[in-house]
Symmetry: C2
Subunit: 190 residues, 2 copies
């Protein structure tokens, strides 16, 4: 937080503060899980004064949500292999692989643990996520395939993956992933 | 914590302390979500000294796990309607209904938010849960039906339910539940 003499673009300091706070949240999540993310702990870790954190985010829930949405949305390129089946298979493998990453896993868990009544932020996130996947489905449509809806494919792939990873701890094998791809491509609205 | 003169069975005081602490955790979860469950907060709420809580549970994670497993396991009677399809449908509707309850929803979320590497306690819980459901499958077998494995049925019902409830916030309709029952009964190991 030194070297104030350098000329910076407007918002530079705010952006750096935000980045420091976000990084502190991510490190705390990885090291100690959700229970360790408190505003005093974030302040200590980031070097940003706790009053600044309270002023900007208000609650630890809001701060977590900002970190989660920022991090989850910047990930995962949309597959483009030339066939929907191969695209969906790649999507499934990337998702399974992502949860081997401690930060991505911790962020997903923090997202699940948002207050149950916070449906609005969940829907907002998924609307954006489906948009990033839409080209995959538009291309399939253009090739004359008859693709299911993005939200149904996402549900058929991610629901069982999340369930094994975060709920039952059953192993995720390639055979399991291929079965999910089959289910997803057979899926119709439910 | 008064009235020490009453003669009690051995363990009575321990059991009451445990119940008071558990109840405090449940109330905090309902009111403020996982972030509000800290050992000082539980101590204040339960009237049990924080050193006793630390001595018994060690960490807030262990305390949460104890509360979660105790509460989740005592729920949900196993359906017995005379047909596996009807049993599974009842299981699905009860699960969907349970997540309307703020405490059950908060407990499930706390379970998902356990440190991701804590596979052992997840597996232990589910092994017990499948055992409680086994009679449903044994009866089906006895009637000459050819039931899928309990863990596959559970996964086909609960994974999409959890996903809609805690991840995407898509609505859970009766049509959706019936589709899950169909998928579950068609399911084979994957």
């Amino acid at each position: 937080m030194a070297s104030n003499k350098i000329v910076r673009r407007p918002g530079g300091r705010t952006a750096r503060t935000r980045a420091a706070v976000h990084q502190a949240v991510e490190l705390l999540l990885i090291e100690g899980g959700l229970a360790s993310v408190t505003i005093p702990a974030v302040a200590a870790r980031s070097g940003v004064h706790h009053t600044s954190i309270y002023r900007r985010w208000g609650t630890v829930q809001n701060l977590l949500l900002d970190v989660i949405l920022t991090s989850l949305i910047r990930v995962v390129p949309t597959p483009d292999t030339g066939s929907l089946r191969e695209d969906v298979r790649q999507f499934a493998r990337e998702a399974a692989h992502a949860f081997q990453d401690p930060l991505r896993a911790a962020l997903a868990q923090a997202f699940f643990a948002l207050p149950a009544d916070d449906s609005a932020s969940r829907r907002r996130y998924w609307a954006r996520r489906y948009e990033t996947l839409r080209p995959m489905f538009d291309r399939a449509e253009g090739r004359g395939e008859n693709p299911p809806a993005p939200e149904d494919v996402v549900e058929h792939i991610l629901a069982p993956l999340y369930f094994r990873r975060f709920v039952t701890a059953r192993p995720v094998t390639n055979r399991f992933l291929d079965a999910l791809v089959n289910d997803a491509l057979r899926s119709s609205a439910r």
